[in-house]
Amino acid sequence: MLEQILITIATAATPLLIAAIGELVVERSGVLNLGVEGMMVMGAVTGFAVALTTGSPWLGVFAAVIVGALFSLLFGFLTLTLVTNQVATGLALTLLGLGLSGMIGEAFVGQPGIKLSAIYIPGLTDIPFVGRLFFGQDPLFYVSILLTVGVAWFLFRTRAGLTLRSVGDNHGSAHALGINVIGIRYLAVMFGGACAGLAGAFLSLVYTTQWIENMSAGRGWIALALVVFASWRPLRVLAGAYLFGAVSIGQLHAQALGIGIPSQLLSALPYLATIVVLVLISRNRRLTMINTPASLGRPFVPDR
């Protein structure tokens, strides 16, 4: 039973982790994209529709990643090239995504989808207690872990990662050094979009194999909060996503056990935990300052 619960927690945490890791890279480059929810739900509808029409869940995943990236390109064009307000544009992207996905998905409502099946390695998956947890989950779970480790390595161990962080910390200086600020931000935004699309595909192809309007149900916003919660560090995003998953699954178990705590309070626990950690983190202002990308959300117009 414990293994089953841990797997449930991993399933709840994975979409948050994937979307948050993408947004972390975007924010590290100095761009605040509040459109995660919209890109996620676009990924969910694309993944579902393509998987159902082609019969291949992997094609669905691939298409969701592409559509997520393309959709974020719209945000990139508006905020980076036309220098519109990032907050307003991000919100608009979320609204557009929710509406557009509903329209595209109308024909797919009420149809059972195709599940991206869990992996099975003879021998390893059958190990009692830990086999299924480590060697028997769905492929995207492993992708999410690799993605986290990969991004951590990229940001803090490579020259390109350093360049990306410098763009996010001080786009003026980076520009003066001859770095293509806009170009790097475009790439970061598209990476974020691709990740959000992947997270969406996870929702409609693994978590619950179906398409329903608005099925992301606020997970994009939680991913955004996780990035701040993790003070822009990839491994802390991982910890945050699993903490969030554990608390939300734990409260359901507490309810089923009949523990006499009001369910409304239990439902609010994951969010309360986020706030508490945020307060604890922000107590040390210098540490916060070091990690926060200094140019976050500030528009950049190259000198003419």
Binding site: T8, A12, Q210, I212, Q255, A256, G260, S267
Partner: protein, 358 residues
């Protein structure tokens, strides 16, 4: 003089009606709380609207207009008023939270008919209220659950602790106890009407704790899919979800608004619409059960017998003797709960393994 005037007026009205009949178009408008693609509550209302249009002669006769995902509150009043101004003859507002907004607009537009679902306020003569006794279906589900469950405990995924939901849980338990007096129900409150991921998680948590039947009062098909994956049985909600669990769904309570919408829109077209307050159940065709599947014949027979008794009015799920959860007596033997009490129900009957959030 007065009589002659009336005759004249009647003739004029008849003439006017004659010309109207030639065009014979009624504009029926709907306000939905969720997206019509939710495959649950709003989806079923929209299906009902489409069915009514089809029954009454299609687009030629009935013009449909709808707004989806309208938030309950100030926005709703604006949306309803916009409909009233745009020539709607009858406006259906399909969520409890539209109650005050609907009444406010109805006062301003006496010539437009208003129909508010699940509410109880009718402040002007041009507003009706309608609702369905879904708990009748849940009683039948309880009977099936008690006969099908080996563990003797079912999992119930609930949304919010409002009377409608509490009534459903109680009715389910009473149905189950009519078969197995020791039957237990574990309740998990999702605190949402609609979050497929969370509903799936709730189903997993319940199954991990040993229930072998899942039923839900939330709107998505996710719990059905989880039950299917884990190889147990489940009940659908609001619509027939058999496609999501061909070997899993026992039955489903289907909200069938089509007959009611047909009747009411027709009444507007015929000019004989009158204010009513209806709480329709199986008898009125409001509550329909999806086919009984994945169960042995004797269970199916028991379910059908209970359904027939409820339909004929012979059986009311809330008939005493019934004790409250704390063991105190609620209804004496043979006593039937009043509708008013049920519509404000805020306590559990004995046998629910949960503390009701207050």
């Amino acid at each position: 003089m007065k009589t002659r005037f009336l005759t004249l007026a009647a003739t004029a009205a008849a003439l006017a009606f004659g010309t109207m009949a030639a065009e014979a178009k009624v504009k029926a408008c709907f306000i939905y709380v969720g997206p019509i693609g939710d495959f649950g509550w709003s989806y079923q209302h929209h299906q009902g609207a489409l069915e009514a249009q089809k029954n009454l002669g299609g687009e030629e006769q009935v013009e449909l207009a709808y707004l989806e995902s309208v938030p309950e509150g100030a926005d709703a009043e604006r949306a309803i008023e916009r409909f009233a101004r745009s020539g709607c003859n009858i406006i259906f507002t399909t969520s409890f939270g539209y109650m005050d907004a609907t009444n406010a607009v109805a006062k301003k537009f006496p010539d437009v008919k208003f129909e508010h679902a699940t509410g109880y306020k009718r402040e002007s003569p041009n507003i009706s209220t309608y609702n369905s006794k879904f708990h009748e279906g849940r009683y039948v589900q309880g009977i099936i659950a008690a006969k099908m469950s080996k563990a003797g405990v079912a999992g119930y995924i609930a949304s919010f602790p409002i009377p409608e939901v509490v009534m459903g849980i109680n009715s389910f338990v009473l149905g189950a106890q009519s078969v197995n007096p020791d039957f237990k129900v574990k309740v998990v409150w999702a605190n949402t009407w609609f979050d497929p991921g969370k509903e799936a998680d709730a189903a997993k948590a319940l199954i991990d704790q040993g229930v072998d039947i899942i039923t839900q009062h939330t709107d998505s098909t996710a719990p059905m899919q989880v039950a299917h994956e884990r190889g147990i049985k489940a009940f659908g909600q609001a619509s027939d979800m058999i496609k999501f669990g061909p070997e899993t769904q026992l039955t489903s309570i289907v909200d069938d608004w089509g007959p009611y919408y047909t009747k009411r829109i027709k009444a507007v077209a015929d000019g004989n619409w009158e204010q009513i307050d209806i709480w329709g159940g199986m008898k009125d065709g409001h509550v329909v059960m999806a086919p009984y599947t994945n169960m042995p014949d004797d269970v199916k027979a028991a379910a059908e017998a209970a359904q027939a008794k409820i339909t004929s009015g012979e059986l009311n799920p809330f008939t005493g003797p019934i004790n409250k959860q704390d063991g105190s007596e609620w209804l004496k033997a043979g006593e039937v709960a009043e509708d008013g009490v049920l519509l404000g129900l805020n306590f559990y009957v004995a046998g629910v393994d949960d503390k009701l959030p207050q």
